[in-house]
Amino acid sequence: MEFDTITAISTPLGEGAIAIVRISGDEAIEIADRIFKGPGRKGLLEVNSHTIHYGHLIQPKTGEIIEEVMVSVMKGPKTFTREDVVEINCHGGIVSVNRVLQLILSQGARLAEPGEFTKRAFLNGRIDLSQAEAVMDLIRAKTDKAMNVALGQMEGRLSKLIQNLRQEILQTLAQVEVNIDYPEYDDVEEMTHRLFLEKGSYVKTEIEKLLHTAQQGKILRDGLATVIIGRPNVGKSSLLNSLVHENKAIVTDIPGTTRDVIEEYVNVRGVPLKLVDTAGIRETEDIVERIGVERSRAVLKEADLILLVLNYSDDFTAEDEKLFQAVEGMDVIVIINKTDLPQKIDLAKVKENSTSHKVVSTSLLEDKGVDELEKAIASLFFEGSLETGDLTYVSNARHIALLGQALQSISDAVEAIEMGTPIDLVQIDFTKAWELLGEIIGESVQDNLINQLFSQFCLGK
């Protein structure tokens, strides 16, 4: 086969019970084998073609279990693309499917372009001549649409950040290039290892931040780290249960902390939430006391979303006020619970404290207001502008993948600088990072650099 190995989510994105991630190409089975652990001894490389296998996907480095799956192994040419194909059936929902996809990408498969499976099917001779035109139209249409969606998303802050970052890299590269192509030109500071390291580390941190703050990407990859806080007995547990019961939850144990922190994933109207430290809430309901504790602070710091619960039938206390102070500047939804009981809370005070926060009233006992809460969560992060359709999703995953690769390249570069590798070699990984970031916003490479070179420096005989 002449193509590399590609992967993509093949089922429409939504809330189906299962989803299928497909891998096609020479290394499809090998990649699947590396991340699959079945009950038997046989690896996927040894099983018969066109068979299906139960097991778990694991993170090969740590052995961590990622997902429970059924895996179909089909060897070419009797497959859709005529290449080796593996289809992984996993639980539906954005979070779980994404983890599977990311795992496969991390093993060296490339995210398929729009229409690429169909294209391969054709190129490998599976689809007949009459369908060729249709395939070409498909590529055109899908690419344009994907590009539009991508561009739409790109107009925001993320795009600006990436452009700034690229400019930063470009200037550094131009300086390296000018040192190489004009060794005698003395106007420009020699790009030393120290300088290069400075720039490299800066870019690395920025990409890391970008990966961290690229909110949409983060939602899709990890879920939104959500913390429920409130005084004892305001209904945190009920809120938790309500969210979890309404929406199928996936429970993961993360060992290694003093006490296991339990994270539960729920999907609220397309927004995956990672409910943090739910065990704490269930066990003790004492999060107020633990606010002062270092670890709780850390939990709060990592949080993307705070659900702050107040008691409608109790006074607004100094403790409540402290809670508001603790979460200042964060994304907060204020929930006034227990509206089924007589009002005692001073709503003016609530309003005063939650200036920029959305306030929702609920009676969890009577299952009232939950709908409104879910809407509030969804609108807070999608702001009505982001579709959870297939294309949006693909381009997001693409951005994450590219950012991840760019981070890898820049980390390689930084590591090489620290080893004392000559700068013109370090430049290889630096350029790679620049190209990858360029792919996100669709900008070309070579000419750019040369233009930069001649506008930044006064060169020549």
């Binding site: 002449e2 590399d4 372009e113 294209k119 054709f122 190129l123 001779g125 007949d128 001549l129 060729a132 035109e133 395939v135 070409m136 139209d137 590529i139 055109r140 690419t143 344009d144 290039e177 040192n179 190489i180 192509d181 004009y182 060794p183 005698e184 030109y185 003395d186 106007d187 080893m419 004392g420 590798t421 000559p422 700068i423 013109d424 070699l425 290889i428 070309s444 070579q446 000419d447 650099l449 040369i450 070179l453 001649f454 006064c458 060169l459 020549g460 005989k461």
Partner: protein, 628 residues
């Protein structure tokens, strides 16, 4: 009156840096060749900088040598100083540069051409090509001589409708007041070629006796003997220095005050000049925050007092040039022997060429050098070599040679020209190469000798020597990979003395060599080889092992490129019949006519979706043929 003057396999028009290589190469691959030039005293003349090499360019010279060309050998015999540049950087960007004795350089090249078997050198001005049914079959000179040929190479440099501009003065001329070639330019237009107008320039020359060198910094050559050619055994040890000085505020003020007299800004110059070779007035205007610019003083030869003032290229009026010189430390009393000038000339739009450098419009006609929109002796020579090889091979009925971007800088150069075209005189830069680490100064022979041998450019004796070197490199690499160094006291001492941390365990010699503080000399002490190895071999071993990881990465990229290079596009493809191609892509594809999908993907305006559609279309054609 026209008369039949003779018949050849190949005719090369011009004998500059492109023409010299073209003529020699065509003759060396076995074609009966004639070179014809306007003035026999101007063979391989250096109208501008008396220097050869530098980053990227120096590697081209090595490549020319590995393919059996002449530039490397010629400069090895005639330089006044040589330096290795970028020695503090990695192996991929090291490059040699030599200052030439420009008169000796010419003489040597002329002699080599005269001595070359199969090659005739004559004086004459070609005014017309003989073209029958879009096939070129010969040339006609101003004096009416008709020469027949199977293939023709045009290497006319800046002579095509050349015009010199000096201040308010503008006159028809080739470089250095040579006769320009006007009829040929008109003739090319009549044949339907698209021409563009480019501009370049040169600085004044001053008399060495009038320079006060005590106010300048000395720039000596390297003490280590160096050579471009793999065949050179005699090294020049008696070198001349160059000198460095600077412009200052006074210089800049003077230029500013006289800008209105500059043809650049008065609108007299219309041709596009190169950004990388700006005139001093350009530098002052565009970078007005810079307090000074470097000026290198370069002797033009051993037997002349003329000194080239590098950094002061200008087309300002003569009187202003004299005053500018006087503002510069060391040049206060300088006698200007020749004024600088700008020259405008015609070049053909290079997307009209196949990657063999044959024109698409007219079969058996090739163009090379500055006429293709490049700048620089090395760029010209590299193209001249390839055009000469291909015109020669074509004439004797053999398959032509195309170097890919991963083979050589020459491949990068030609691919850029024919695929992307150029809107300014094109200069090679190392950053134009995607696989810079593979296209090194040190491995030009490993990349290209085999190719040179296969087409008859490299003699058997040299080829055998090359094979021995290659084998020695592989043997030594193999040895270091299997040799295990134990952490003995002596070993630890050598390592710590060079600034490394002690070994915890035994280590393969090759892995130890990969440490940044280690080089081959350390390994030689810790695990000596039984056989005597030349410096060339150990250098190769060191680079190949030390940078193995990076080289490996580049090779993987090349693999992907090759797959797409192997997807050929038939010559008769009808881009209008492919639905789904974007309009811009369709236009560009029709214009460039790429030979492979890889080349198509490098055209600006052809995006990945268009490439996919093209791939699908090509496959469709395949299936259609099968089903017929």
């Amino acid at each position: 009156m026209q008369y039949e003057a003779g018949s050849y396999d190949v005719i090369v028009i011009g004998a500059g840096h492109a023409g010299s290589e073209a003529g020699l190469a065509a003759a060396r691959v076995g074609a009966k060749t004639m070179m014809i030039t306007i003035n026999l005293d101007m063979v391989a003349f250096m109208p501008c900088n008396p220097s050869v090499g530098g980053p990227a360019k120096g590697i081209v010279v090595r490549e020319i040598d590995a393919l059996g060309g002449e530039m490397g050998k010629n400069i090895d015999k005639t330089h006044i100083q040589m330096r290795m540049l970028n020695t503090a950087k990695g192996p991929a960007v090291r490059a040699l540069r030599a200052q030439a004795d420009k008169f000796l350089y010419q003489q040597e090249m002329k002699k080599t051409i005269e001595d070359q078997e199969n090659l005739t050198l004559i004086q004459g001005m070609v005014e017309e090509l003989i073209v029958e049914n879009d096939v070129c079959t010969g040339v006609i000179t101003k004096t009416g001589a008709v020469y027949r040929a199977k293939t023709v190479v045009i290497t006319t440099g800046t002579y095509l409708r050349g015009e010199i501009i000096l201040g308010e003065l503008k006159y028809s001329s080739g470089p250095n007041n040579q006769q320009p070639s006007i009829r040929l330019s008109e003739h090319l237009e009549q044949l339907g070629f698209d021409l563009v107008r480019f501009k370049t320039g040169t600085p004044p020359r001053v008399n060495s006796s009038s320079i006060d060198y005590s106010k300048t910094e000395i720039q000596p050559g390297d003490e280590v003997p160096r050579a471009f050619s793999y065949e050179t055994t005699k090294f020049i040890t008696d070198q001349l220095p160059c000198w460095l000085t600077y412009t200052n505020e006074g210089t800049h003020q003077l230029i500013d005050d006289n800008l209105h007299r500059s043809p650049m800004y008065s609108g007299m110059i219309k041709g596009t000049g190169p950004r990388y070779c700006p005139s001093i007035e350009d530098k002052v205007v565009r970078f007005n925050d810079k307090p000074r610019h470097q000026i290198f003083l370069e002797p033009e030869g051993r037997n002349t007092k003329e000194v080239y003032v590098q950094g002061l290229s200008t087309s300002l009026p003569e009187d202003v040039q004299v005053k500018i010189l006087q503002t510069i430390p060391g040049l206060e009393k300088a006698e200007m022997m020749r004024a600088g000038y700008a020259i405008e000339y015609d070049a053909i739009v290079p997307t009209q060429l196949w990657p063999t450098l044959e024109t698409k419009k007219i079969k058996n006609l090739y163009t090379a050098g500055q006429i293709n929109g490049t700048s620089g002796y090395e760029e010209a020579a590299g193209q001249g070599l390839m055009a000469g090889i291909n015109a020669g091979l074509n004439a004797i009925g053999k398959e032509e040679l195309i170097l890919s971007r991963s083979d050589a800088y020459i491949g990068v150069l030609i691919d850029d020209l024919v695929t992307k075209g150029t809107n300014e005189p094109y200069r090679l830069l190392t950053s134009r190469a995607e696989y810079r680490l593979l296209l090194r100064h040190d491995n030009a022979d490993l990349r290209l000798t085999e190719i040179g041998f296969n087409i008859g450019m490299i003699k058997e004796e040299r080829y055998n020597r090359f094979l021995l070197k290659k084998e020695a490199v592989e043997m030594e690499k193999g040895r270091l990979k299997s040799n295990f160094i134990k952490p003995t006291k002596e070993v630890q001492e050598v390592i710590t003395a060079s600034g490394g941390s002690e070994l915890k365990d035994g280590i393969r010699a090759s892995d130890l060599l990969k440490r940044p503080e280690m080089d081959y000399s350390h390994i030689q002490r810790l695990a000596p080889s039984d056989v005597e190895l030349s410096g060339e071999v150990t250098e190769q071993v060191e680079i190949q092992i030390k940078y193995e990881g990076y080289i490996e990465k580049s090779l993987q990229q090349v693999d992907r490129l090759k797959k797409m290079e192997n997807k050929k596009i038939p010559e008769n493809i009808d881009y209008d019949a492919i639905s789904g191609l974007a309009t811009e892509a369709r236009q560009k594809l029709k214009l460039v006519h790429p030979l492979s999908v890889a080349q198509a993907s490098r055209i600006s305006g052809v995006n990945p979706a268009d490439v996919s559609i093209l791939l699908v279309y090509l496959e469709q054609g395949k299936i259609a043929r099968v089903s017929q």
